[in-house]
Amino acid sequence: MDLLTELAILVLAAFVGFEVISKVPNTLHTPLMSGTNAIHGIVVLGGLMLIGPAEGFLNDLLLTIAIAFGTINVVGGFLVTDRMLGMFKAKKADVPPGSPDAK
């Protein structure tokens, strides 16, 4: 893919990021940060792509560490966000089903 196409994707993704996030209430800032934190664990893909073609002990070692790091980021990030959000969700039980608050 050529650079300009990639830059176009980059800029559009930036605008989507701005739009999606700008309306999150303060209350959810921690889970939001922790959730986006998990998403940048996507770097693990870089390690997965490179480790096959990579040659030499050092390259393999560095990429294995990178994959381990990326996995910690992804798995830990999503799990911890889920735990946090579970606490917010618990409040649902207080709202009787069918009441106007139960959205």
Binding site: I39, H40, I65, F69, T71, K91
Partner: protein, 455 residues
């Protein structure tokens, strides 16, 4: 359709899931599902990547994933909610570290790299390294393994950034020296360490959020280098959302991001040394506080970092419930930068089962203070400091605060008379309608609770 086309299509499915998931994080009722949807998107992106032609060395992949899972899962499962900021810092740091390592391997394994690949590699290396080392320092500070540190002169930080950029230009100009590349990582890493080291407590929300954005940006840069759209899109989504969050945090403190990193209130320009404001603070007892609270109509609780440190959130929630049983209306006033990460107080109170609707944001609660009988400040200081409104030369002048001093009476729970993170005296403590209850926040709240129950 070729295999590559299918992989690209799966990546597009993953983007849709990421964006949908992030959108659902806007409301507490949809957020759990949103996070799960984003996780599914990630699983699809990983699966698609593994199906790419040329992916190999399965043993090492399995080893890497196994190590990562063995560390990440127990850490995420067992971390206390009060320790959440350092956990996020750590997860963020390893992400940045992964980017930096990937960029090293890319540089090492190819020769004659074209500029449109080389420049993103260099950017990913620099930003990833700053993020890795900066996040680790943030972790050490939040974990209180590292207390104080010297603020390096701005020139040094500037010079380190300069060195990294100059070396990057030399490599871009054609040098294939691996040593130079490692030096770039080292100088960027040193910059990350030195930039975060002097930043303390109250500025941490801005720091963590900035580093989060950095890791996202570095992932996007790595994506351009690798021609991988999933990395570009996901990295940039995080880069953009992290930047927005950083800006909101900084605005909530009425400071610029540069000001946080280069002229922190905590270490640098604190004007008034604590105690100089003068006046005497009035101490009170748990029994008196209990009486005041029980006969109030509206009590507003203002939690701060002190509540997190003392792990007092459950005691506070119990006290609120007990008061409500007695017909007292109880609300919580949450300043956007209370605690050590954005939304820190909300997470702790949610953990203690305080209903979401009772947590009021600053703009919603400030008009309510005029009809508030008792404002109960628990381990919060600077975010309630009226000096931010009136004292022009105060370092926090102009910072939006919770108008606690508008309440009919104020009770401040505090360990001692020491000043807050910003090192500024708080005139609120000397206000005639303010009473201080000294001691550990958890012990104090429990004492108040048992006094209320005894009434």
């Amino acid at each position: 359709m070729t295999r590559t086309d299918v992989i690209q299509l799966l990546y597009i499915v993953a983007f849709v899931l990421f964006i949908t998931g992030l959108r659902m994080l806007r409301g507490p009722r949809t957020a759990v599902r949103g996070n799960q949807i984003a996780a599914v998107g990630m699983a699809i992106a990983v699966g698609a990547t593994l199906a790419q032609p040329g992916v190999g060395d399965w043993v090492l992949i399995v080893v890497g994933v196994a190590i990562g899972t063995a560390i990440g899962v127990p850490a995420a499962r067992s971390v206390h909610m009060t320790a959440m900021p350092q956990m996020v810092a750590l997860f963020n740091g390893v992400g940045g570290g992964a980017v930096a390592l990937i960029s090293v391997v890319e540089f090492r394994s190819e020769t004659d790299i074209p500029l449109d690949t080389l420049i993103p590699i260099l950017l990913a290396a620099i930003i990833g390294s700053i993020s890795f080392w900066g996040s680790n320092i943030a972790f050490l500070k939040l974990q209180e393994l590292m207390k104080r540190a010297i603020r390096t002169p701005r020139v040094v930080n500037g010079a380190l950034l300069g060195i990294a950029i100059v070396l990057a230009v030399i490599i871009a100009a054609g040098s294939e020296s691996e040593l130079l590349f490692w030096l770039i990582l080292a100088s960027a890493g040193a910059l990350g360490v030195l930039a975060v080291t002097p930043i303390g407590g109250a500025d941490m929300p801005v720091v963590i959020s900035t580093l989060n954005a950095f890791t996202g940006l570095s992932a996007a840069a790595a994506g351009i280098a690798l021609d991988n759209t999933a990395l570009i899109v996901a990295g940039m989504l995080v880069g953009a959302s992290g930047s927005i969050l950083t800006k909101q945090m900084a605005e909530a403190m009425n400071r610029s991001i540069l000001n946080v990193f280069f002229a922190g209130v905590g270490a640098g320009g604190a004007a008034l040394p604590a105690g100089e404001g003068g006046g005497t603070a009035r101490a009170t007892s748990a029994a008196d506080v209990a009486i005041q609270l029980s006969y109030a109509r509206l009590v507003v609780i203002v939690p701060g970092y002190g509540m997190a440190v003392a792990q007092a959130q459950r005691a506070v929630a119990d006290l609120a419930k007990e008061l409500e049983k007695r017909g007292v209306e109880v609300l919580f006033a949450i300043h956007p930068v209370a605690g050590r990460m954005p939304g820190h107080m909300n997470v702790l109170l949610a953990e203690a089962d305080v209903p979401y609707e009772k947590l009021k944001e600053m703009d919603d609660i400030n008009p309510e203070f005029a009809r508030t009988d008792v404002a109960l400040v628990i381990g919060a200081n600077d975010v309630t400091n009226p000096a931010a409104r009136s004292v022009k030369d105060s370092p926090i002048y102009g910072m939006p605060i919770l108008d606690v001093d508008k309440a009919a009476s104020v009770i401040v729970l505090k360990r001692s008379m020491s000043s807050g993170f910003a090192g500024i005296d708080n005139p609120l403590f000397y206000d005639p309608k303010t009473a201080m209850l000294f001691g550990d926040a958890k012990a104090s709240v429990s004492d108040i609770l048992s006094e209320v129950q005894a009434l």
